[in-house]
Symmetry: none
Subunit: 216 residues, 4 copies
């Protein structure tokens, strides 16, 4: 179908191919996905993939790059719209969770696939993921690290919070898939409630947080 040439400009075709690749990589994993499959999903012939993207490896890298861009942009949007400022962290996290849940395919490629493949992607992928982490770190910092706070939350701590958020989002969207009667919003509510429970418990003395450094 659409049997012969469609004569589209190169940039458009490239995006079509990357779109298809993200879908296929997400579904099958990097190695199981065949270039044939991707080409067919994109509606082009296999040599086109090579002419435009060069190789399977570079195609995957292109996917990583584009999805990292989009993820960064989504977090930035959350930051910008996160007014009033005192709600920054919560609403920012809500946006972020929603983004991950709504872009499962892209996220899978960006975080799960990219991490589980061997060496060839370490360089490009590490950089791309760092950009996302940095942006989320900024989101966290903007929401918490107000200068007047008692304890200082250092840069490393902010990054740790960012990682926790990412890991939690990752794990929780799996949970969403397994519990179709929940939504991203109801999930966020649950998470926030849990945090509140923790805080209240602390206040009532039910939870005694150990002083740092008491590890056995």
């Amino acid at each position: 179908m659409a049997s012969k040439q469609q004569r589209l400009p190169r940039a458009v075709r490239e995006q079509q191919v990357i779109d298809a690749a993200v879908r296929v990589f997400s579904r099958s994993g990097y190695h199981s996905a065949s270039v044939d499959e991707i080409a067919e999903a994109a509606g082009v012939s296999k040599p086109m993939v090579y002419i435009y993207l060069g190789s399977k490896e570079r195609l995957f890298t292109a996917c990583i790059h584009r999805e990292a861009d989009r993820a960064v942009e989504a977090v930035r949007a959350a930051l910008r719209s996160g007014e009033p400022p005192e709600l920054g962290l919560w609403s920012g996290l809500r946006e972020f969770f929603g983004y991950v849940a709504a872009n499962r395919d892209a996220w899978r490629v960006l975080y799960q696939q990219a991490r589980t493949q061997g060496e060839p992607f370490s360089q490009e992928v590490h950089a791309a993921r760092c950009r996302v982490v940095d942006e989320i770190t900024r989101l966290v910092v903007a929401g918490t690290a107000l200068p007047e706070g008692g304890r200082i939350v250092g840069e490393r701590d902010a990054e740790i919070l960012a990682r926790i958020a990412i890991g939690a989002a990752d794990a929780l969207t799996d949970w969403l898939l397994e519990n179709p009667d929940e939504t991203a919003d109801s999930l966020v509510d649950r998470v926030l409630n849990l945090a509140l429970v923790g805080v209240e418990r602390y206040q009532t003395g039910d939870i005694a947080a150990p002083a740092p450094g008491t590890a056995p």
Copy 2:
């Protein structure tokens, strides 16, 4: 090396092969890992892998099973040794983080690889992972859901907490690898501190946690 036959009993060789497989699967991912690679890492010839484990797929399943057993056992040990009881959650989490950090390879196979591969493993893997999640859920419940607490933490909430813990542990051990001057213990300290900061902030009014259902 060990150039010719070594003539060990079957059970021993099987464990050697599974050990090697966990290492290799962890490093390269399921598809990239070749059975040749695994056989060489185990110090046996390729047919041994097939004689003892049957197929690459069943070898992977065997890895999943064994590592799930070990993970469950580690969490149980944390539960048992979690005295005094009021420290249950903190020390339990500390043990769990330590376990994941100390068994990076196994964890990668159990959680990252198992999740990203397509259909063939769904059945066995889902069951194995559920066992781990259940055990961690019990750890979380034991540490938090004291009946006298204010808000009730339901079963779903406990599972969410377990997932968050798992996702966080997963993400944070990546962070550990990138920050070699930190240890599992210092990481746990940081996490706890962050929790304390959150709590204090809440007390001082710096953080206004929204009531559930306020999502935009």
Copy 3:
């Protein structure tokens, strides 16, 4: 030789591959024949065999189908050209023997290989062979079962005659191979002579055919 790509249309290459496969299967048997061997005999690389024919099993099935078609067509031609009609059986058998002798490779694949292999081919092969047997049965019936004949030759009997003809053709072409100074025609003459001898013997009383049912 023909060292690099030759770029022929698919249909042509497919026939080349099947031609080669019939030769190689005939010589080495289904299991001994390697796809490499067949590819080389066809002058293509191994992947072509798989791209066009799918698998060794389906390649074999394709051979069966094509040769069954040809065999049926050969028998039909013998039936059509079998004038004058009263010579139908003899000249038809002559044509059939000649066909088997002249297409030894195809016949081997169709009858010997197909019969000795296990389950995977039962379905397709049984159907293909039935077509050939049916056609020969028709040839036999046309030549013998004239309605005015004394004894009626039933359907089962006709099929038995067909099987005998097939088995005899099969065995006799082996004999041809071992006696290169004979030809298909001289073989047919011998067979006819033997039949005449039998008839004459019967007339002279040298052979006493037992009444049916006298078996010990």
Copy 4:
């Protein structure tokens, strides 16, 4: 089971192995049959097969030899018991058909498997099969080639008759398998009837056998 050594004399074990091999080769074909399978069917361990028979190839040859011996002996018995002499051919054929039908496994190995495999067995197998053909030739000659007959039936003609008998027996036992309501005896009756029909037809002029050499 019978878990450890049974300490049987070598000759007995050898026959056990050959028995099993005939069964397995018959069922699966030479190449599909694995030495493991045969060893298990024989109730011995794989190395025993090699100690006693040397190699898979020599094991197959041993099967051929033994079954050829048995087939020759069966035909000889038919010849000896074939009194009164004038019934020699018919009753001999009946015995022979019965033997083939009753020893399907052995016959398959001896005739179908042996013929369809590639080169390695040509030498040994050809000799073995010749012995069987010779014996059947003698049976045919004893039944037909009485010196006073009009036309001389030469040695080649007798061999052709033997081959026809073999091929027909081969094809007809397949037919027996597909028509379970028939027996070897009823099959022989049918064949004899068909021969009689041919003879009668000739007498009535319905069949005009062409003079030898009239082939188109």
